[in-house]
Structure formats: C-alpha cells, structure tokens
C-alpha cells in the first residue's frame, strides 16, 4: 500500500493554496472542484514545478519536497498535464522511447510495465511510425498516456485527461485506467469535471474550493451528500448503486440488475452476466410512496428504509436518504438519495425508519453512468 502525505501552503498568483491530504490507498482518487480552485496547481506542486510556497511531500517514507534534492526529473510521479504535449520532432515510437531511454533502470525491472502491453491495450500499433502532427485528439491522448506510464511512475497524476474525448472512446479508456490501476497497483490522482468519470472510476474523492480541501472520502459517500451539489451547483444530486447483471435482453436492449435481492431494469447492456455494474440515479428522478402502488407506473420498484430527512431552508424541497433493503442478508448498506417536495413529504407523513417504495423510470437512468467493475 502506497502512502503519500502532502501539504501545500502559500500564495500562487491570485490563489491562496492551503491543501493538506494523506493519500493512503492504491485506488483512484478524484480531485474535484470548480475552475481556479487549485487542482492543477496541486499536481504541478507535486511535480516540483511550484516554488516559493510551504511544501511537504512524503511519499512512502521519503521526503520529496526539496526541489534541489528532488528536481522534477527525479520525482517518482507520472504526470499528464492539462494540455498534453507530444514532442513534434519525434515520431510516436520515438516519443515512447524518449522516456524509456531516460528511465532505463526502471524499465529493465521485471515488474515494469512493458511498451508492448501499452501498445496492445491502448491500440497504438498503427500510430507508431506516424508524426504527432496529424494525430486526432483521442490518438494523441493514448500516446501521451502510454508515454507517461512508461516512466514507470509510482503514482500517476492525470489532469483532466479525457476532456476533449468523444464518449465512445472515453468509456474504453476509463476501463483501461481502472484495469491498469487494479493490475499494477499504481495509484492514480485524477482531476475531472465529469460526474460520469467520477462515478465510473473514482474510489476516493477530494473536493477542493479556493485552494482548500472541503471534503474527502469514498466516492459513493461524497456523491450522496449535499456538499457535493453545493460546491458547484453544476451537477444534480445523485446516488450511486452497485448491482449484479442478472440477464441481458439483446432484442430490447435492456439489462436486469440484482440490487441486493431487488431488481432494477436499466437501458443498454452495461455488462455480462454476473458483472458488477455501477448505476447513477439522479435524486430528482426518484418517486416515493409510503405504500406499494397497485398500478405500476414503472417496472422499477425498490423497497427501502428512510434513514434521514433534511428539510431545506427557503426551498420547496426536502432531501431523504433511503437505505435500500437487502433481501439477501438484511444488511442495508446501499444508500439512495431522493429529492421531493416538502409538501409531498408532509402529505405522505413520512418519517425516519419508515418503509418507502421507490419508483424509478428506466429512461432516467444515466446511460454513461455504469460500467463493469
């Protein structure tokens, strides 16, 4: 298990950075926050590119913050900057060899990630002889990612890597990153603005604002709290649920998921039988009822227990956290967050620990929000 303890404190331009965090997992940590909140600066500071602020970087017991002792080229991080750059005077293969040559010892190591592995999984074969000039955005990104990994970094820092990628390719690359992370146990710090990317690959998340850490924790916990929505106002409150594929209907293009013994029908074919699939459901798409409806408005009926009720000030709405009933072993752990009018809440006379029935239209389930994990 790798551990990384960082502190950055000081003024950089208009930003006052005061960021402290202890990273202690091998998974994917999302760095999330509005523009100008200091996300990219944190990555730059880790890379050794920021001078004149109080800095502490302790990685697996080694102090790395002294720039004279550990200049950028001596740090164990693999960084993909926001505007990924390929060296235009070199071919794609030479771009990859550039980093191999400069990290020869690490590349001779048995446990190192081979060029062949990356060429295969990032589909670079047809690009090798080409010049960076006429590569598409997606192709360029794959090459830069491969080059960054060939440094054999101990920690991967990716600054909005997928921002100009089309959805189709994005899904593929996200799967690659997740698998890569699991296979080689190289932790990833990942900056993104995309809720889809967060819910698909994030394990941990750190929320930053104005250079400060607002909150951090497991993606599923943070995504289910109000602070996330407050931070940006950009994304709607939503919940993330894990389900197992029970069956796929290839004709109708729908999949039935098993959520702790309950059934959920989702559009598309997100995985094969027995795959674990993550689904994101927006809070406002949830309808609640205090009793089971006789006439079904949707196939998707789930049963849960109200765990908290929060009535918003100066608003017509209330937030409810519902624990999904686990029909298999009675351990209700999956949380669903619903947003309904306070009027409705009062009318239904719902209170804590009540059983509720949850109705979700399949259409409202985010198509990009699931993935085999």
């Amino acid at each position: 298990m790798s551990n990384l303890s960082v502190l950055f404190k000081g003024k950089i331009g208009n930003l006052f950075l005061n960021f402290e965090h202890y990273f202690k997992n091998n998974g994917i940590t999302i760095l999330y926050g509005p523009n100008g909140s200091g996300k990219s600066t944190i990555i730059s500071a880790l890379g050794g590119f920021i001078n004149g602020i109080e800095t502490r970087i302790i990685f697996n017991g080694n102090e790395l913050h002294d720039i004279d002792k550990y200049p950028p080229n001596k740090r164990p991080f693999g960084i993909m900057f926001q505007n990924p750059i390929l060296f235009e005077h070199l071919s794609i293969e030479e771009n990859l060899d550039f980093v191999i040559k400069r990290n020869q010892i690490k590349n001779q190591n048995k446990s190192s990630i081979s060029k062949e592995y990356l060429i295969k999984h990032l589909e670079l074969n047809s690009l090798l002889k080409r010049s960076p000039e006429n590569l598409s955005g997606g192709e360029k990104l794959r090459v830069v990612l491969a080059r960054t990994i060939l440094k054999q970094p101990k920690y991967l820092l990716l600054d909005e890597p997928m921002s100009d990628l089309d959805i189709k390719y994005k899904a593929k690359l996200l799967v690659f990153l997740k698998n890569f992370n699991k296979k080689f146990k190289i932790p990833i710090l990942y900056i993104t603005h995309s809720i889809e990317e967060i819910s698909q690959i994030g394990d941990q998340i750190i929320l930053v604002k104005d250079g400060k850490k607002i909150a951090s924790g497991a993606v599923s916990d943070i995504l289910n709290t109000n602070s996330f929505g407050d931070l940006t106002g950009k994304f709607e409150l939503s919940s993330v649920l894990d389900g197992i594929v029970l069956s796929n209907d290839h004709n109708l293009h729908i999949t039935t998921l098993d959520l702790d013994g309950q059934k959920l029908i989702v559009p598309g074919l997100p995985g094969n039988f027995n795959d674990v699939v993550r689904v994101r459901i927006r809070s406002r798409d949830i309808l609640l009822s205090s009793s089971r409806l006789e006439t079904k408005i949707t196939e998707n009926e789930l049963e849960g227990l109200i765990s908290t009720i929060e009535i918003e000030n100066n608003s017509a709405f209330s937030e409810l956290v519902i624990l999904l009933k686990n029909l298999k072993n009675n351990k209700n752990i999956q949380k669903l967050r619903a947003r309904i009018t306070t009027y409705n809440l009062k009318k239904m006379k719902l209170s804590k620990n009540d059983t509720v029935f949850i109705y979700i239209s399949s259409v409202s389930i985010d198509r990009q929000a699931y993935q085999s994990i």
Binding site: G48, R75, I79, I85
Partner: protein
C-alpha cells in the same frame, strides 16, 4: 597603384568581414542563447528592463554605441584594463574591439527570433520533458534545440547578415585600418570617396548578391516562420 594591389586589399576586407561575422555569431550563440531562454521562460519582473537593453541597439544610432564603448573601454578604466588583459590590445582600432561592438549591435537580431521560438514551444513542453525524467541539459539538447531549429537558423542567418552590413559602429570603433579593422562596407565607402566606382560596384554588387542569397535561404527553409524584428 596597380589593380592587383587594390583587388588584394579588397580581398583582405572580405576576409576580415567574414571572420568578424563568424566570431560575432559564435559569441552571440554563447551569450544570446541563454539570454533568449531567460527572457522566454525565467524572468518576470526584470523582463521589460532586459528586453529594452537588448533592443536598444536597434534604435540608437551606431555612433552612440560606438561613442560609449570608446568611453567605457578607455584603457584607464577597469573595463578597458580587462579588455587589454583578454585581447592584448586596447578596444579602439582593434579587431576584437570590432567583435565586441558587433556583439552588442547584433544582439537583438540573435535574441529576438530565438526568444520567439522558445516562447512558441512553451513552458508546458519543458515541464513535460522534465517530468518524463530528462534533466535540464537533456531537455535543452534533445527537446528544445531540435524543436527550435528554425529559430536558431533564423537567428544565425540574420545576425550573420547584419554583422556583414555594419558600417557606423565599425568605423567608429575600428577606424577602418587596412588589414585589421577595414570591412567591406568601409572599403566601399573609401572607393566611392575616391570616385573608384568600378571597384565600388564589384564589392557592392557582391554584398547585394550575398545578402540576397542568405535571406533567400532563410525564407526558403523557414517558409512558415515570420522573422519578427520589433
């Protein structure tokens, strides 16, 4: 005076001019390149001040620079003494006096195209190279230099051509001593003064053709690069 004497005298001026241009470019590469790099990437607060000093020779009359060089490098001054220590001669009327004057006078022609070229490849490229494990020197040699090939070529060619064409400052500092500090531009001036238009034609025409070829080469290889002189 027989014609052969004159021809060989002109030939000497040509050799001195070429020698001056080559040595000047050598020193420009040594001093101007780090300066251009500094201006492109490092300086923030000092940048306008340094840029102004580097660009001054473009707007000042050459005689002003020549005048101050003579004053500052007077053998009585510290600079003058250092100059004598290094070259064995005092600045005025010496070849290395010309070299120093040319370095200062052609500095903007070396620094500006190269600075523009460095700025174009940008900080991100350098950061990328460093983060991939290349050191500062490796980054300069294997990333910046090849990417700024055109910038170096432009700087070299126009500095070279500009040094060939100097007149005011070389006359002021060098005095036009035959075989020592007399360059082509001064030879032409002398010929015209003596109404030897034929000889002036040969040198002037030669300069015209040479400069034309040099610039044509530059623009031919540098189709897409704009030579930016402020």
């Amino acid at each position: 005076m027989d014609i052969y004497h004159h021809l060989s005298s002109d030939f000497t001026s040509i050799l001195i001019t070429l020698k001056l241009a080559i040595i000047t470019c050598f020193f420009l590469a040594l001093i101007g390149t780090p300066l251009a790099y500094f201006l492109a990437f490092k300086s923030r607060k000092t940048k306008p001040f340094i840029e102004t000093i580097v660009t001054l020779p473009l707007v000042l009359p050459p005689t002003v620079i020549g005048f101050y060089l003579i004053i500052f490098f007077n053998p009585e001054t510290v600079f003058g003494k250092i100059f004598i220590l290094l070259t064995g001669e005092q600045l005025i009327f010496s070849f290395y006096g010309l070299v120093l004057a040319s370095i200062i006078y052609s500095m903007p022609f070396w620094v500006q195209p190269l600075q523009a070229s460095f700025e174009k490849i940008g900080r991100d490229t350098i950061r990328t190279s460093l983060s991939l494990g290349a050191g500062s020197l490796g980054t300069f040699l294997h990333v910046i230099m090849p990417l700024c090939k055109k910038g170096f070529l432009t700087s070299f060619i126009i500095s070279f051509a500009h040094t060939l064409g100097e007149f005011g400052i070389v006359l002021m500092v060098g005095g036009g001593i035959h075989g020592k500090t007399k360059v082509i531009a001064i030879s032409i001036y002398d010929h015209v003064e003596q109404l030897s238009f034929g000889k002036a034609h040969i040198l002037a025409g030669g300069m015209l053709i040479l400069s034309f070829i040099i610039l044509l080469t530059l623009f031919y290889f540098n189709k897409r690069t704009v030579v930016r002189i402020k």
